[in-house]
Symmetry: C2
């Protein structure tokens, strides 16, 4: 394809018959430039297909203006939705946003953080249930950082997440349905912060209500560990499975199906996130709907305030979510109505 010769500011200035300083100011509507000059420069720039070099501009500007978003895995609908909503929030404020899809392991996340830092983003938003705290802290060492969707009480890093009461309420619903032995999915990976906190919340509430949680490890790994552990829990009498997120819940439903077990007839299943198709009545999944749009907007608000220097105390925003009781939660088999 015939590529266009790239016009730079000097080309524009020359064609408009002004200095580079004036062209720069005219293009940005900065300083006092005559309306006539502004119009002429703008026209010439458009004619030449001039695209401002953001790298050079930000390099020279005092304050960086681009924001970075690190998402754990856009292929998971929750994170994909977060990416879309954060972008929408940025667009609404006319803020330049760069997204990087982070790796699963510590190294991958570190690389992603470094990449964003390398582009000198003014601030970083991180959405990953599996963020190694070290990587997040590394980011925060350099620029304002806000964690999205990851419950945190970090003394120095802002966060925006769903109210953990929703986790408690979901567990309470399971217990109230009469389930006593409840499988709860978990991970052996220390960096699965969100999942660990969620699992702990589920357990605490189940125990508080006299139920007996059984941990099912290995979730999210490729191996057979999870399948084996789930099977053992089910054979051991679990009548409900609380998954840490919707994709896992679906995986559980598939396994139960393969094992010829009926949900919720024999076993109940719950998820978490309630984003996109997972909230469809076709699934009838019992889950919690995360307020992704609000999370994104709040994160952007916190970031902008932080960059503006208008806040000092670390903020941990907590937003309401919605409990979705679907068909996959029933009473345990043999439980009298």
């Amino acid at each position: 394809m015939q590529r266009r010769a790239r016009a730079d500011l000097s080309d524009v200035a020359r064609a408009a018959g002004v200095s580079r300083s004036t062209a720069s100011r005219a293009l940005r509507g900065e300083g006092r430039v005559s309306a006539e000059t502004v119009a002429r420069v703008a026209r010439v720039a458009a004619d030449l297909g001039y695209v401002r070099d953001l790298r050079a501009a930000e390099l020279r500007e005092t304050a960086a203006t681009t924001l970075g978003l690190l998402v754990r895995g856009a292929e998971r609908s929750f994170y994909g939705e977060v990416a879309a909503q954060v972008q929408a929030a940025a667009d609404a404020r006319d803020i330049d946003l760069l997204i990087v899809n982070g790796g699963d392991d510590h190294d991958g996340q570190f690389r992603a953080v470094q990449a964003l830092l390398g582009h000198r983003v003014a601030g970083m938003m991180i959405a990953s249930g599996r963020m190694s705290l070290a990587a997040a802290e590394h980011a925060a060492t350099f620029v304002p950082t806000v964690l999205i969707g990851m419950p945190s009480s970090h003394p120095e890093i802002d966060s925006v997440a769903i109210d953990p009461m929703l986790e408690t309420q979901l567990a309470a619903s399971v217990a109230r349905a009469g389930h006593r032995r409840v499988a709860v999915t978990t991970s052996d990976r220390p960096e699965s912060t969100t999942l660990h906190l969620r699992t702990a919340r589920f357990r605490d509430e189940l125990i508080a209500r006299g139920a007996d949680p059984v941990l099912v490890p290995g979730v999210g790994e490729d191996g057979q560990e999870f399948v084996t552990a789930l099977r053992r829990a089910v054979d051991g009498g679990a009548t409900a499975v609380m998954a840490g997120d919707d994709p896992t819940a679906v995986q559980v439903l598939e396994l139960l199906d393969a094992w010829g077990m009926n949900c919720p007839g024999q076993i109940s299943v719950t998820g978490f996130d309630g984003v996109g198709v997972y909230a469809s009545p076709l699934f009838g999944l019992t889950t919690v709907r995360q307020p992704v749009e609000q999370l994104a907007a709040a994160a952007m608000r916190v970031m902008v305030a932080r960059l503006g220097g208008r806040v000092s105390a670390v903020s941990h925003d907590v937003l309401p979510g919605e409990l979705l009781i679907g068909r996959t939660l029933g009473k345990p088999a043999g439980h009298g109505d």
Copy 2:
């Protein structure tokens, strides 16, 4: 939070007792620098928490090295998966990738393209079924551009997409099941290129097999048009609905459910994409699985070759997909076995 004073190359050079030129070369393993110097500079850089300013580096370098990816909407699982896979392909080659989530309308897409151009990406990959051709051509005017997942025969822009034969085969399966009156979803938006081509493929094959396609417009819009049009098609005797993608297929399934119609008992439904949960046996959706990982890898291959100047002819890669026949496709009601 206590932010770290940002160290630049001069700081590193000073601390290591060498010139900036040497520090730069040592850090990049470029030119001949003594092993001892390399080690010392590397250690000092790590101690200082030095992060190379990619903006400045690329500004000076002859060839840009960052690639850009524009996805239409990461909240849709197909595009989220594309983002994740392209990132994986970039990581594997140690290429810096910047992702922007594009808007739905022409202006939004144009802005997204401009943002990426502003960051002076060396090349741009675009994954959007709703890309306005003008925006893609604008990108291609400046940098090598490759379209992902969007069938194209553009004379000047590279593309990588699934073999359109899969669309034909899917329509053939519907016709072979005995359906004569078949609803096919469509859009009024001229920029929905992928959908329009797909719809046309479906129609052509249905007609070739003696069936009677009925267009159902308004898909993807917020209004009631789609719902009304679908209802009319169903009342008009359609015994199958071919949706342009899986999310639409699920929407159709939900509507049929709400109308008390059984699938596939009364009406069959097909989708397209087969990514993530949509391919789950729980849905049993009849669809086509797009080879997203291969699409991403192929796109990266084309881009790298193009940037290396090793290709001249425009390439339109076509990759095989997989037909997934699920429960949602059955014979029309009253059709004798």
